[in-house]
Subunit: 209 residues, 2 copies
């Protein structure tokens, strides 16, 4: 089972992919999305332009890749919750567990204990720049598909049934709204609180009053 998951080849590939993506984020934050050429990103990660293209099919995809990878983990996190937990409780816990990383900076970047400024700047860029929103939503769609599968397992439903699909889509939409709101608020509020709120609202039928 560990066959192929931690050979030198695979580790190098993962490292290159992550290096490229971080380089893309850093340069895009620094010079604007259009102020960076793919060539610059490749150079900054120490590979050829052509190799960049073996990993990502566009600049936008490279920038959004970290987000895409992280979003995928929500489904895994949900699977890790105890099976007898009520669905919404489990979902909320899974989401919070995953997003805590963004808040306390204990992500893969490593050293800092405060929120990872580079990552926050990157997210800010992704949600605000129209050139990236498409790719961002694409990543979210992929994560939703994975989430729908995890939900289907948990609820003993077919993964193509409308129920799991709808719940996953609604959760995805809620996360986007919460993140958006979090970015917009000037005195920075707690993302965790916002997440709890939107999920709770979903569960109670989106009352408006």
């Amino acid at each position: 089972m560990t066959r192929g998951t931690d050979g030198l080849r695979e580790r190098k590939k993962r490292a290159t992919r992550i290096a490229l993506s971080w380089a893309a984020i850093r340069l895009a934050v620094e010079h604007g999305v259009d102020g960076v050429r793919v060539e610059d990103i490749a150079e900054s990660a120490g590979v050829s332009l052509r190799t960049f293209r073996n990993y990502f099919s566009s600049k936008a995809e490279a920038i959004a890749a970290r987000h895409a990878d992280r979003a995928m983990l929500i489904a895994e996190e949900l699977r890790a919750r105890p099976a007898d937990e009520p669905l919404w409780t489990a979902i909320t816990a899974a989401v919070l567990a995953r997003f805590a990383v963004d808040l306390d900076g204990a992500g893969e970047r490593g050293t800092s204990t405060e929120p990872d400024q580079q990552w926050i700047a990157g997210v800010r860029l992704m949600v605000s720049d129209p050139a990236l929103q498409g790719e961002l939503q694409k990543a979210n769609a992929a994560a939703q598909a994975a989430l729908a599968e995890a939900i289907a397992e948990r609820t003993a439903t077919g993964p193509n049934e409308i129920g799991p699909q709808l719940v996953a889509a609604a959760v995805g939409a809620a996360l986007t709204v919460a993140t958006d709101q979090w970015m917009r608020t000037d005195p920075p509020t707690s993302l965790a609180a916002l997440l709890r709120e939107v999920l709770q609202r979903l569960e109670s039928g989106l009352p408006i009053p």
Copy 2:
């Protein structure tokens, strides 16, 4: 108020835009997205390649444009509902009113009374081809923003409050799920029924029975 909305200039522009978008859809359905050059689309609509670029910044945007325009109308439709109607009733009615066009083919294409096969094939292409999904989601996001505004008006809330944003996002997600499901089902079911179901589920807190 009608100033500028029906001059010859504006009508021609709208016509060109629509012609380009339909040409893009038709050719993409016929030859695949990658089998069409922007130049072909421009020629098919009788304008120069450069003019195409004045209207759309990419092939994908041109293909998704009709969907984008239609999705925008949901917000308008909601505004047209009586103000004392309950929110979810009004939303459901607005959505159905808009999507009925896709079902009975009474759209701008004109003559046929049966569902517009060209449009259905186009939608099928948009939801299935990865190259278009980004643009599609981008269009949905824009429509959601408009919808959030309309909801905010109706509920006497600020348009940037989290409530309207979340409802609009959830509705958008639900429409996507319903459409997806509709495409997937082999004996074609009623889209209207699916739409009713997903919206009803949203309103009742997404129970997983």
